[in-house]
Every structure is written in structure tokens, then in C-alpha cells.
Symmetry: C2
Subunit: 340 residues, 2 copies
Amino acid sequence: MKPSRRPTAHDVAALAGVSQSAVSRAFTPGASISRRARLLVQQAAETLGYRPNLIARSLITRRSGTIGIAIGYMDNQFYPAMLDAMCAGFAAAGYRVLLFTPGPGGDPDPILDEVLRYQVEAVVLASARLTSHFAEQCSQARVPVVLFNRRTERATVSSITGRNREGAAEIARFLIDGGHLRFAYVAGLEDSSTSRDRERGFVDTLRQAGLTPATRVVGHYDFALAREAARTLFSAPSPPDAIFCANDHTAFAVMQTAQAEFGLRVGTDISVVGFDDVPLAAWPAFDLTTYAQPIRPMAERVVAATLAHLADPLCPPIQEQVDGSLIVRGSARLPPRRHS
Amino acid sequence: MKPSRRPTAHDVAALAGVSQSAVSRAFTPGASISRRARLLVQQAAETLGYRPNLIARSLITRRSGTIGIAIGYMDNQFYPAMLDAMCAGFAAAGYRVLLFTPGPGGDPDPILDEVLRYQVEAVVLASARLTSHFAEQCSQARVPVVLFNRRTERATVSSITGRNREGAAEIARFLIDGGHLRFAYVAGLEDSSTSRDRERGFVDTLRQAGLTPATRVVGHYDFALAREAARTLFSAPSPPDAIFCANDHTAFAVMQTAQAEFGLRVGTDISVVGFDDVPLAAWPAFDLTTYAQPIRPMAERVVAATLAHLADPLCPPIQEQVDGSLIVRGSARLPPRRHS
DNA sequence: CACGCATTTGCATACGAATGCAAGGGTCCG
DNA sequence: CGGACCCTTGCATTCGTATGCAAATGCGTG
């Protein structure tokens, strides 16, 4: 009772006294097979411990049933949470997820090759580092690409993002209403569309209000570098009193540096606002005012967009912005109450 | 210039004027092929945008080159970090990673079936929920299983863990030396070997020192539930002054609840210690004393153990404990200095 | 009982690449 | 110049499953 190899459909067929075709059909929902035959096959499969080989199936159906997800920034809680949600979404749709984590210094190209060789049916990109060139190659190989939380200039590839401009603008208005005067923006990566869009929304709103332009530092979406940026900010002759950060992760770095190294009380002396509303933001230690990018809906949209491309290869690029909302907590001074 | 299908080795062969075998050999390092032929093939492949179909290759080599990783608890920073590291490790070894995230309420069985059908060559389990039954089935299907951060009673399946008993014992001694008197343990899940081992190490050390046994509450590795547990703890008539938590994530919940809801100063009024040393633990806001489970080395050991099983199917179960070390920060009162 | 129709079944082939085998080509030596 | 030997090459087969097609079966009706 110790087969040297894994049992195949042929083995099952022999035991059940049917043909290999019957075994195949027994495992294909909706295939033409009698109840009796299906039962025979199921029993034989049970005793042999047979499981259909999805590799072989993929070869013949020309569908791997696999989605590639390239994701970086695993230290920013937003991404693991999204990964989790997307994974669940794809699983529910009958797809498996092949994970690629391009290391910080890593060259994206070998990864790209891996992804495409593996016949993934689509790729979800959630890593700023390898966006444009990567997306290019994929679409050239006829593999749909969905960018998550980033976009390219050319509207040629699908993307799901939050309302970065609008969210940042809302934050700017909130801070303006709060009576702040000296604004700062802590950028993410220079070549990140997300960081740029948020900056644009923030800066434009300040300008329209006729206020002093925001100081600008760069945190590179990295905790240590964001702390460095914060030090620059607070060491300046006239430090800011309202700091908008490219994302929550950056905001955590900034607010802790303000407290620990400059003795500033966040929410009183200065206001810090983030973007994402990761679970951490709600923790008492942070109580971060931020703009929520809802994980679940965004994951759903990513999955839906991907499936749309798979259903119709000619489907034009889908570019969606998922609604968010300002989450007011204690890290930023509140505007005075208008009524009552 | 718009091929309806992806180019195959045959297409490349035709263009290069060689046989399909030659194409295959051109992409197989160390295969018997002349420099000239390899170049011809490479050029043809380039112009056609050909990439070897790994699915087809897997079928014939009987090696999918894929490792399944089932991971839960993505809200605990420890797991995303490990996932990242393991992914990199497997990628470096030429393997791809198929990710499975069993939802909290999800039934593990369908996932298991998926994993095995997909011909993963091995499975890494980092989710307490589906440990024993799952591992059983996998080894029955001759798929090596490596448990990460958990183990089973029977020594039949490989596992990589930290030194839970020893680490917890060291923490106990540290807290005893710090002059604490009323100890508490915030457990993770009841059926988690990791939580049990840590509790054992902690409790045994207290007993050996002749101290009052630790109060015990259960946080289920969940932030909200851990906060609930902390409330129970601090509302007691004689609340503890030294709290050891099953992991850092739990410790964060406990220390924030202590501060925000009970006005306790962590590190002064009470001491809180965690286990894992996730990046968050070093943040100024937490400054958590904890026992480090080093991500990189652990990931390396997981990869190494997995590869060992793949290299030799008869390889006996590998059960390793990776050394850790106590990281003293500010969340727990220090023992008095002995010397100088 | 014969017939038509619907359902089930097996046969044979296909998916795309890897590989054992034998044939082809080249080199080197006697 | 012949032969031994090594390096290349193509042919044919193989992996495990899905599926078109035709044969076979079952069922209901006239």
C-alpha cells in the first residue's frame, strides 16, 4: 500500500473499472457522466488518495488559474492587509496566488521573467519599484496587469487607487480649518504616483487658500528615513505645525520622532495626518487622523478588474478610484465647532 | 505581428531553423548544445518574445518548483515579515511561492485540497488554525510539511520554532530580578503550541523561584480580545505588576490598554514583556522589552529544512529551535545593577 | 419489437517542453 | 586514409489530464 508515485487518473480508472476520460469527467463539474460512474470514480479516488493534477490540467486548458501578485513594503501594514484581502478574493473566484516580493535592492527583471514564465493569467502590482517597465512587458506578453495603489501616466494599464487628490485636499482643508499656518508634506518616493497625487491635492488646496506653501521633505516610505526627514523638519528655524504624511506608516515615524526627540505633543503642539487608515492608526498610542483607504472594497475592485480582463482579453484598461473618507482622531487639532 | 497565441518552442524552432529539442536545450543550463545553436535560438526567442512554459516543464520533470505557504495572522507584523523573508529565500533557491491565507473563520479543508492539487513540492504552515490535520494529509500525500513557529506533539513533522521555553524562562528571571511580585501571562490561543511552550517556561521558572503563580488570561492572538483580557487583568482586586504576553502583538494591546484605560505607566507602574521582537517593538511609542525571534535566520532555517526534504524524500523530520535573545528596552523595570 | 432521441462512454489526440536514443558531424591520432 | 571518440542534433516518446468524436447504452413511444 505504498505507491512509488502519486496516483494518476489512469490508476483511478483502472481501479474503478472505467476509462481515464470518465475519471476526468467525474472531477469536472457539469461534465457528461452518470451518477453511478461518478460514484465509482469517487470511491476509487478516495482509496487511492487521488487528486487531479492541476498542472496537467492547466497545460491542456491553457489556463493556469494563477494570478501573480508582486508586493513590496511588507513593513507597512497596509500591504499585508491588502495581500490578505486580495488573496481571499482570488481564492473565492477560484484562482491561486503566486507571490513575488521584489526585495528593496532587487533587480525587478528576473522576477518579471519568472512571473511570465509561470503562465500567470494576470499580474497585480503593488510595488512602486517595478511599475512601468514591468507593466510594459506584461501587456506585451498579453498578460493583463492591474496596478494597485499606483498608476502610470499613460492610461494604457488598469489601476485601482484611492482618491489621492481628493483625500489630500480634504486633509488640507481640515488642517486649514484647524487654524494651522505652517504646513509640511512628507513625501514617499519621488517617482511614486501615489505620493505625487497626494502632494498635488494638498499643495493645490493650500495655494487656493492663499497660504504659505508647504515645506517638503522625503521619507521614501521607509521608517528610518522618514524619521530622518522628520528631524530635518523639526530642526528648522520655523518648524511646521501641520504635517501631512504620504501614508500612515510615514506618519507613525514622524509623530514618534516629534514626541520622543523634540518633546512635541502630537494633536496639541503639532498636528500629524496620515493616509490609509491602517489598523495601527486606530491604536491608542497613535490615534492618527487619516484618510481611509478601505482595504476590503479596494481588494474587491482589484479582483473584479482582474477578472474582467480575464473574461474579456479585449477589455479596455480599467482605472478606478475607490472612495475613501476622512477619519478624524486625535493626532490633529480639530477645527473649532461651527454650530451649537 | 500579432500572434494569436503565445509562441511555443516549436515556433521558435521553426524560426531558428532548428528542432524543438534544440530550443529546449538552449534554455536548459548545462544541456548539450553548441554555442551557435544556442545563439540562433536566443535570437529567435527574442524576436518572438518566447518564454519557456513552466507548466509544461513541470509536467514532464514532475517538479512544480512551487512551495505552498499557508499563513494567517497578517495583522501581526511578525508574519508578513517572515513571509517576505521566506519568499526571498525560496526565490533565491529557484522556487516560487503559492500563497494561501486561510481566513479566520474559514474551513481549512478546501484550502488543503487546493494546495495539494496544485502539486506544490512542499508546504510551509504558519497558521495555528490548520496544523495537525493538515500536516497529516500532506505527509500522506508525500508532500513534506514544515511548521513554522509551531509544532505538533508527535515528532513526525518538521518544524522551526524559536526557543520558546528558554526565552520565556529568561523573561521570567528578568522580571523576578526586577523585583516584581504579581505575575500574569496573557496566552495566545489555547491550542497553540507556541503559547503553551512560552507559558510553560514562564510558569515553571516562577514556581522554581517559589513565587506566586501567574494570573492567566487569554488574548487569542487578537488585538481586540487581548485588550479585553488586559481589562480583566487590570480590573482585578490585586492587579499584576509584571505581564508576559504570548507575543509582541498581544503586548502592544496590553500596554496600550494599561496606559489609555488605567493610567498605568508602562515600565514604571507595570512591566510588560513580549515575544518576537517585531520591528514595531523598537518604535519609541512602545519600546518593548521582548525576546527576539530573528526573522532572517528563522526564514533561512525554514527554507533550508524544506530544501532538505526535497533533496531527500526520506529525510527524517527536522525539528529546529532557532536561538533568540532577550532584548531589553523600556517597557519593563530593570533589575538593579549588581556591579560598579 | 423497432425506432428515435438523449445520455454516457471510451478512444484517440492534444497541450508544450524534456530527454533517451541513435544518427550525424567534427576532431585527433595512429 | 581509416577509425575511435566526443560533441550536436533530431526523432520520437513522455508527463497527466481534457475533450471532440463516434460508438454504445438507455429510455420512451408508436
